[in-house]
């Protein structure tokens, strides 16, 4: 089997995640889609590591995970506070950027 397939898969997942971010309004689901994209990247990293026969790719994936973890923590916290103040988790309700 051609290793490129892994990459195809990661690309596909990434795209799906991206589409999700664009389509969904529920902040939590949007967040999940972001996670999905991150994971897609990780898959690519891991695959590359195997392709090139060194572990740097995996290191990268590892760091990605750590960052993702941090991000999720903060992000969810934000969602919660937002929900408290607005009683809604829809990203469209957070349209104050327009002013």
């Amino acid at each position: 089997m051609n290793p490129i397939n892994y990459l195809y898969l990661s690309a596909l997942l990434f795209t799906i995640g991206g589409a999700g971010v664009l389509f969904r309004r529920n902040a939590i689901i949007v967040f999940m889609c972001v996670e999905l994209m991150l994971n897609a990247c990780n898959l690519a990293f891991v695959t590359f590591a195997r392709l090139h026969g060194n572990l740097d790719g995996q290191i990268f994936a590892f760091f990605t995970m750590v960052v993702a973890a941090a991000e999720v923590v903060v992000g969810l916290a934000i969602i919660v506070t937002f929900f408290r103040s607005r009683h809604s988790a829809s990203v469209d309700d957070a349209s104050l950027m327009k002013l």
Binding site: P3, L7, L13, A19, N26, L36, G53, D56, Q58, I59
Partner: protein
């Protein structure tokens, strides 16, 4: 190093699952379902990691992601449950088409990009993992990437503190006492007595079945708020209403409409919600539909 047929099979099977999971994440109406399908995808990915010789990552993926992060998600879904299900109706004009276009284009581009990349065989992690995958990673992390590692440490700490700061709420005023709460309720004239219990006057007494009012309509207040907003109210008052109608019918046969008036009035008085009996009698489906509407709202 080429890949074994086994891996191929495994890939094709699990890849399908992964994609389905991803699609589920995007498409599911309820956050819980999205979260679950995402978890599925992640597990599949973990398997792929393992297959790609990233044993440590595979495990971490399961433990950290599927274990910790996804659970965190579920917790939040629980907290924010009220609007956890949102309609997929698009509100921003043109957003959907634009998104579809861009997303599709992006995907196509990625695929195309990969398409003209010439990748034939893995180099394989044979000697990279010779000292064991974890040791290999450890060596790299604590030598080459030690600086980045330290930084991520700092990042995590910051994130933790940040989350705390964000979610922590300083109580500015004294907590209201029982008395004050009661007085307020009276003042606002909102539901002075305790909420009605579910299942009263009903065949079942499960929490998700509303009690029925004297006129047989379900008392929404008797069901837990969250269930209500999730639209998870099971309604069994249909046949009760049928009985009521039959009973009234019989009452009319006996005496003139006065008697029923009085009955209706008394019912209204006890239930605290006036509904002209004729009306209720006339369209029962309407009444039975209300919970659904409430859920949809």
């Amino acid at each position: 190093m080429t890949t074994s047929t086994g891996e191929a099979v495994e890939f094709w099977l699990l890849a399908t699952v992964a994609v389905l999971g991803a699609l589920g994440t995007v498409a599911m109406r309820k956050a819980v379902h999205s979260a679950l399908s995402l978890a599925g995808t992640m597990i599949v990915l973990a398997v792929f990691y393992l297959a790609n010789g990233a044993y440590f990552l595979g495990v971490v993926q399961i433990v950290v992601y599927t274990g910790a992060i996804m659970m965190l998600f579920l917790f939040v879904v629980m907290v924010v449950g009220i609007t956890a299900a949102d309609s997929l109706r698009e509100t921003i004009r043109g957003q959907r088409w634009l998104a579809a276009l861009v997303g599709l284009g992006f995907g196509v581009l990625l695929i195309a990009g990969l398409g003209n990349a010439s990748v034939h065989a893995f180099t394989g992690l044979g000697q990279a993992n010779s000292g064991g995958n974890v040791e290999g990673l450890a060596k790299l992390i604590f030598t080459t990437y030690v600086w980045a590692f330290e930084i991520t440490g700092a990042l995590l700490i910051t994130a933790a503190v940040g989350a705390m700061v964000l979610t922590h709420r300083e109580r500015t005023e004294r907590a209201a006492t029982q008395r004050e709460l009661a007085e307020r309720r009276v003042r606002e004239g909102a539901q002075v007595p305790p909420l009605p219990a579910p299942g009263v006057y009903a065949r079942h007494n499960a929490v998700d079945i509303p009690g029925l009012l004297p006129d047989g309509t379900p008392a929404e207040l008797s069901v837990n708020k969250t269930l209500r907003s999730r639209g998870q109210i099971r309604d069994v008052s249909g046949e009760a209403l049928e009985d009521l109608k039959a009973l009234e019918q019989r009452a009319e046969d006996h005496a003139e409409g006065k008697g029923t008036e009085g009955a209706a009035n008394s019912g209204a008085g006890s239930g605290g919600r006036g509904a002209p009996s004729g009306g209720t009698g006339a369209e029962p489906p309407n009444n039975s539909a209300t919970p659904a509407n409430g859920a949809a709202r």
